[in-house]
């Protein structure tokens, strides 16, 4: 088995811990303990806590975007492209191996003070939005999607994905399974964008 470098071990531990406990509740000690390396290595490899947080988030975000890209590529028309996007989004977020949570924590909060890094991350996030917008435009052109404003609707749908995630995490007693909930979410999106009759 390929040996993992200590730097990589630190990043992995950071993704897990930042995701689970958030920025403030995660300490250098916890990270280095979980990674099984000395505390001082953290500053040496990543400079400071902020930069490590950013590196952890970016790592997940890049993986996420590559998955979304792959998912939309095979779609036969715009509407299925949008639905593939949504399905991939939800599946990625539900998979414990992706360390999705750290990305959730990275973006929405003022934790991210370093404005340079923040700018880079926002630019990357825009790619997510763009991937969806392309499918919406395509769907309007090929007639599988009802006429609507692509940019704004892309925002609405991404918002729906974000919210669906949060609802799943938060909801105390899940009504049915997460699977049910996600299926219903996809149906909801399909009803909202489909042109003409409901058939697939």
């Amino acid at each position: 088995m390929k040996s993992v470098t200590k730097k990589e071990a630190l990043l992995q531990a950071a993704k897990e811990l930042f995701g689970e406990y958030g920025f403030a509740e995660t300490t250098f000690k916890k990270i280095s303990d979980r990674a099984g390396v000395a505390l001082g290595l953290l500053t040496h490899h990543y400079g400071n806590k902020e930069k490590l947080f950013f590196a952890a988030g970016m790592d997940v975000l890049e993986h996420f975007i590559s998955v979304l890209r792959a998912a939309t590529e095979g779609a036969e028309n715009g509407r299925t492209g949008v639905l593939c996007f949504c399905r991939a989004y939800l599946e990625f977020s539900i998979d414990p191996h992706t360390n999705w949570l750290v990305l959730v924590r990275c973006s929405p909060y003022s934790d991210m003070k370093a404005s340079d890094d923040r700018e880079i991350m926002l630019r990357k996030f825009a790619e997510v939005h763009h991937l969806l917008e392309v499918q919406l435009q395509r769907g309007i052109a090929d007639g599988s999607i009802t006429p609507l404003t692509p940019a704004t609707t892309a925002q609405v749908i991404v918002g729906l994905m974000v919210g669906a995630n949060r609802t799943r995490v938060l909801t105390p007693y899940t009504y049915g399974s997460s699977q049910n909930f996600y299926t219903e979410t996809l149906t909801f999106v399909e009803r909202a964008i489909s042109s003409g009759s409901a058939g697939n």
Copy 2:
């Protein structure tokens, strides 16, 4: 006019600061300074930081629920009830006087460790969900809404509201105004739930 008690002043300052800076970045000193009272009063009235955070969130949540309740009461059928709910939700969240942000911070994060308080808050949140579900059931019964699962769809729509908020706060360069975005969000919901033709 009755002067605001120091306890109330603390709560107000806490709502503003927790909302703006989050739990960890908000200190006793900042709160007591803004409230214009002594630092020690904080522990005296609220016990500890966690409890104050909870009190701040609950205060906003109760106000929020009363507004939602009022908004849905006047609706003439289920579909308009749902749309009134959504409009009220978005308007509340955009109004700077409501201290909406502290509520956003309160729920999704492990900041809220005290499991008793967390339980109480989740129960209150369920009321929001219930208000919407009632309107969905009504709409299905009166024919203004297409047949769907009320409980799950209520979750989806609440998720959409949550996400819309986040998107608005996060998006670097807003595509058009918040107003546009919210209007599009409402249209999206309407398309997704409406039975039959698109007319109002």
